[in-house]
C-alpha cells in the first residue's frame, strides 16, 4: 500500500517498507512502478527488482516468482458499509461480494464462504472498495491490513465487519532466479526482529504485524 501518486508517493506501509529496505542495502532511491496485480502474479515485474503488493505465495506463483518469508499476516476480511454486520458464515453467505479476480481471496470466497449470489470480480482494491461504497455489493473481501487501512481512511463510512480463519501471509516477490532473494529475506527477518515491521504496520495500517488490529476485528468461524 502506498499513498500519493507514482511520481510523488507520500507514504504507506509497503512504500515505507521499500524505503527501509533501500536504506538497509545502502540504496539512494525507491522508484514506484504500478503494475496490474494480474500481471504481477504471472511474473511480470517489468524492470522492478522487488514487488511489495500484498501478494500471498502460492505454488502456482512460485513457478514464475521467488518469494521471501512473510512480512505481514493477512487473513481475509469483510469490508462493509457502516451499520452492516457479518456475525457468522451463514450471514456472509447471504451477502453479495466483490473480490479481486487474480487474488487468492477469490478461491477462498468460492471454496469456503460459498456465497449464494454471484460475485463481482474486480481488477484492483480500489474497484472493490468503490463497489462497496456505491452499493453495488454488500461486502468486499480484502486482506485484513488493506481493509483496515481503507476503513480508517473512509471517515466512518466503511468498517471491517470480521476476519476469517486463514493463514494468508503476504511476502515480497522477486523475479524468478533473482540473486537478491536471500538478502531481502534476511533483511525482512531483521525488520521483524528489530520492530521496524510492527512500527510500520501500526503507523500505516493500524495493525500489529501479526494482523490483529487495535480494535480487535471479530473472527468469523468457517468450520462448524
Amino acid at each position: 500500500m502506498w499513498t500519493g501518486t507514482p511520481k510523488h508517493p507520500t507514504g504507506g506501509f509497503e512504500y515505507e517498507l521499500a524505503h527501509a529496505l533501500a536504506k538497509h542495502f545502502g540504496l539512494a532511491h525507491v522508484k514506484v512502478r504500478v503494475i496490474p496485480f494480474a500481471k504481477l502474479v504471472q511474473g511480470h515485474l517489468g524492470d522492478a527488482d522487488l514487488a511489495l503488493s500484498d501478494m500471498t505465495p502460492t505454488a502456482e506463483r512460485e513457478q514464475v516468482l521467488d518469494f521471501t518469508g512473510p512480512y505481514l499476516a493477512a487473513t481475509p476480511a469483510a469490508l462493509v458499509r457502516a451499520g452492516q454486520s457479518v456475525p457468522d458464515l451463514h450471514a456472509a453467505q447471504a451477502l453479495t461480494w466483490a473480490v479481486g479476480r487474480s487474488t487468492t481471496l477469490l478461491k477462498f470466497l468460492n471454496d469456503t464462504i460459498q456465497p449464494s449470489s454471484s460475485t463481482l470480480l474486480t481488477s484492483s482494491q480500489h474497484e472493490t472498495t468503490e463497489a462497496v461504497e456505491r452499493h453495488k455489493v454488500d461486502a468486499g473481501l480484502l486482506d485484513l491490513p488493506i481493509a483496515s487501512a481503507i476503513a480508517r481512511a473512509s471517515g466512518g463510512k466503511l468498517h471491517v465487519a470480521g476476519q476469517f480463519e486463514l493463514n494468508d501471509d503476504v511476502a515480497a516477490a522477486l523475479p524468478s532466479g533473482s540473486d537478491n532473494v536471500d538478502a531481502v529475506d534476511t533483511a525482512i527477518r531483521r525488520f521483524e526482529a528489530d520492530g521496524t515491521l510492527s512500527d510500520l504496520a501500526q503507523r500505516w495500517l493500524g495493525l500489529s504485524v501479526n494482523g490483529i488490529s487495535d480494535d480487535q476485528v471479530p473472527l468469523i468461524r468457517t468450520e462448524s
Partner: protein, 592 residues
C-alpha cells in the same frame, strides 16, 4: 470406489497429522541413518528436510506448531547441557581448563570473525559467526566415557572448556542480539545485557537453588512434580532472560548449571529429563531445524563455499588450540587428538546461535545451510576419530580403587534415616564420582514403615541423592544386606546403625565389599571437623583409604580428642568421647 461413494474422505486438518509425521521421523530417522553408520542426529535433520516445505511438504511452511515445539526443544537441549556438565571434574582440572578454554574459544572466534569479514558480513554477523564456531557440544563425550577414559585429565579439560566456551558464546549472542534487535544505542544495549546477565545469574544461582530446595523438600516425593518443577525452572529462566532482551537459551543453560548439583547425572530425575529430552523435545528441535534446510540452497556453490570457509576456520582454530596444549600443558599427541575430537562437534550451541542469528536477520538461509554442512561434517569426523585417539590414551593407575562408585545406603525397616549418615554415604560416593543407592533392608518378621520411605526420598533429593528407595525383605537383615549389596553390584555399603544391631548381626559375616556401620552422630548432622583412623595394630589399607575419602576436604587427625569422625575396624568398641557429638564408623572390610 464403493467406499468413496459411501464415505466422505478428506485430508486431516488438525494437529494430529503433522505430529504423526513428526514422530514417525523421530522414530525412523535415526534408525535408518545408523544402519549406514552415521550419527542419529543426521537422520533427524534429513527427516525434517524430507517432511518439510522443501521436501514432501507434509509439514508446510505455514505450520507453526512444530517450529514452536522445536524452540522449546532448543531450550531443553541447553538446559540438559547445563545439567549434565560434570562440575566436579571442571573444578578438579581448573588450571588446565582455564588455559585451554581461553585458547579453544579465542582462536576459532578470531578465525571465524575474520572469515565472516572475508565473506562480506557486517561486524555483528562476523562476531556472531566467530562465537558460534568457538562453541562446541559434547557429542562424543559419552563415547569416551564408555571407553573408560572419562576421567582422563585431557578429557576433563575438554569437558570444562565446554562450560566456558558455550557460556561465552551465549553471552556474545546475547550482546549481538540485543544490539541488532534493540533500538537503543550500543552503550544502552550493553548496559541492559549486563544488567540482564546479573539478574539472570542472581535468579539462577541464588534464588533458583533456594526455590528448588524448598519445593523438592516439600513436594519432592511426587516424581511428576519434580520433573515439572525442572521444566518450570527452565522456562522461567528463559523468560527472565527474554525480559532483558537476552536469548532464552542463555537462561535455560544457566538454569541447568544452577540445578546441576541438585539433579545428579545418575539420578531418577535426570533419567526422566534425559528420557523426555531424548524421546521428544530434542529430536523435535533437530527435526524443526531440518525443516529449514533447503537442498536447492545447500547444493548452491555459494553455500558450499561458505561451508568450506567455516569448516577451515572452525577446525583450524580448534586444532591449533589443541596443539598448543603440548607446550602449555605438556599434553601428549593422543591427548591432543582427544581434545580436538571432543571440541570440534558443532551441535547445540552452534545451532542455537545460528538459528537466533537467522531469526534476527543477521544470517541468510545460505549461511544457515552452510552451518548445517559444518555441523554434519563435524559430527561425522568426530565420531570417526574419537575412538582412534581415545584408545591411545594412557591407562591411568587408580591407586585408590573404586570404593565410592556404587554406595549402598542401608536403613532398617522402621529406622528414620539420619541426614548425617546420608551425607557420609554421599561423601564416599563423591570421592569416586559415584552414586548412592538407598535401600531399606528388613527381616521377614520385621515391620516396615512405607510412609517414612517417601520422606526419606525427599530428604535424599536435597542432598543430591536422587534415587527411589529400594526395599529388600529377606530371611534376616544380615542376609538381606548381603543380597542387596550383590544385587546392586555395590562397591561399599553404608548402614545407619545407631544401636549397633546391624554391626552385631554382620560382624562375623564374609562380605565382598566394605561395610560401614555408622553410630554415634547424636545430633544427626555430620560435622565437618577432623577425621581419624583408629586402626590399632592392623594398619588396614581399606581403613586408611576410607578415612581419607571420608575426610574429603577436611583434615585427618592423629588425636581422637579433637576428632568429629572416627573410623575403626568392625568388632572394636567405640572409644569414650564423653559428651562430644562424634560419628563412629566401624568398617567390616570387604574380602575378609
Amino acid at each position: 470406489m464403493v467406499i468413496a461413494q459411501l464415505v466422505h474422505l478428506e485430508a486431516p486438518k488438525g494437529p494430529a497429522f503433522p505430529f504423526l509425521v513428526l514422530f514417525v521421523v523421530i522414530v525412523a530417522g535415526p534408525m535408518i541413518i545408523e544402519k549406514f553408520r552415521f550419527p542419529g542426529i543426521i537422520g533427524l535433520l534429513l527427516g525434517g528436510l524430507l517432511i518439510g516445505p522443501h521436501g514432501l511438504g507434509l509439514v508446510g511452511g505455514g505450520n507453526t506448531t512444530v517450529p514452536d515445539l522445536g524452540q522449546v526443544g532448543l531450550l531443553y537441549l541447553m538446559f540438559v547441557a547445563g545439567l549434565e556438565l560434570d562440575l566436579r571434574m571442571v573444578k578438579a582440572h581448573r588450571r588446565a581448563t582455564a588455559v585451554y578454554s581461553t585458547m579453544t574459544f579465542l582462536l576459532p572466534m578470531t578465525f571465524g570473525t575474520l572469515a565472516g569479514f572475508a565473506v562480506g558480513f557486517g561486524p555483528s554477523a562476523a562476531l556472531l559467526l566467530g562465537s558460534l564456531l568457538a562453541s562446541h557440544t559434547l557429542v562424543v563425550y559419552p563415547m569416551i566415557r564408555e571407553m573408560g577414559k572419562g576421567d582422563d585429565p585431557a578429557v576433563a579439560t575438554g569437558v570444562g572448556a565446554t562450560v566456558v566456551t558455550d557460556t561465552l558464546t551465549l553471552i556474545v549472542l546475547a550482546v549481538i542480539s540485543g544490539i541488532t534487535v534493540g533500538n537503543s544505542g550500543g552503550f544502552e544495549i550493553a548496559s541492559q545485557v549486563i544488567v540482564g546477565l546479573i539478574a539472570l545469574v542472581a535468579g539462577c544461582f541464588l534464588l533458583l537453588p533456594v526455590f528448588a530446595r524448598f519445593f523438592l523438600g516439600r513436594f519432592g516425593t511426587a516424581r511428576p512434580s519434580r520433573y515439572v518443577f525442572a521444566l518450570v525452572a527452565m522456562l522461567a529462566a528463559a523468560s527472565l532472560a527474554e525480559v532483558f532482551g537476552i536469548e532464552g537459551i542463555v537462561g535455560a543453560f544457566f538454569a541447568g548449571l544452577a540445578l546441576n548439583r541438585l539433579v545428579p547425572n545418575e539420578g531418577d530425575l535426570m533419567e526422566r529429563i534425559e528420557f523426555f529430552g531424548g524421546a521428544v523435545f530434542i529430536p523435535v528441535f533437530l527435526v524443526s531445524v531440518g525443516l529449514i534446510i533447503d537442498p536447492s540452497v545447500m547444493k548452491d556453490p555459494e553455500t558450499l563455499r561458505l561451508a568450506a570457509i567455516f569448516i577451515v576456520a572452525c577446525f583450524g582454530g580448534k586444532a591449533l588450540a589443541a596443539l598448543l596444549t603440548r607446550p602449555f600443558l605438556g599434553y601428549r599427541w593422543p591427548e591432543v587428538g582427544v581434545l580436538f575430537s571432543l571440541t570440534i562437534p558443532q551441535a547445540a550451541a552452534t545451532l542455537a546461535a545460528t538459528i537466533v542469528g537467522f531469526d534476527i536477520g543477521l544470517f541468510s538461509t545460505k549461511v544457515v545451510n552452510a552451518v548445517l554442512v559444518l555441523i554434519v561434517v563435524s559430527l561425522i569426523l568426530s565420531a570417526l576419530i574419537t575412538p582412534v585417539f581415545t584408545r591411545r590414551l594412557a591407562v591411568r593407575e587408580t591407586s585408590t580403587g573404586q570404593l565410592g562408585r556404587r554406595v549402598l545406603l542401608v536403613l532398617g525397616g522402621e529406622t528414620q534415616l539420619r541426614r548425617g549418615v546420608a551425607e557420609l554415604a554421599q561423601r564416599l560416593a563423591r570421592s569416586d564420582d559415584g552414586i548412592v543407592l538407598p535401600v531399606v533392608v528388613a527381616g521377614e518378621n520385621e515391620r516396615t514403615d512405607e510412609s517414612s520411605w517417601r520422606q526419606i526420598e525427599a530428604m535424599l533429593v536435597l542432598l543430591g541423592i536422587d534415587r527411589s528407595v529400594g526395599v529388600f525383605i529377606d530371611d534376616s537383615t544380615a542376609i538381606g544386606v548381603r543380597h542387596a549389596a550383590r544385587s546392586f553390584d555395590c562397591t561399599a555399603v553404608v548402614i545407619d546403625d545407631p544401636n549397633g544391631a546391624f554391626h552385631d548381626a554382620l560382624e562375623d559375616a564374609h562380605v565382598a565389599v566394605p561395610i560401614l556401620f555408622v553410630s554415634g552422630l547424636t545430633s544427626g548432622h555430620l560435622a565437618k571437623g577432623r577425621v581419624q583412623s583408629n586402626d590399632g595394630e592392623r594398619d588396614s589399607g581399606t581403613l586408611l583409604d576410607l578415612t581419607r575419602r571420608l575426610a574429603g576436604s577436611t583434615a585427618t587427625s592423629p588425636d581422637e580428642d579433637h576428632c568429629d569422625l572416627i573410623v575403626q575396624p568392625a568388632g572394636t568398641a567405640e572409644p569414650d568421647v564423653g559428651d562430644r557429638d562424634v560419628t563412629f564408623v566401624r568398617v567390616l572390610s570387604g574380602g575378609d
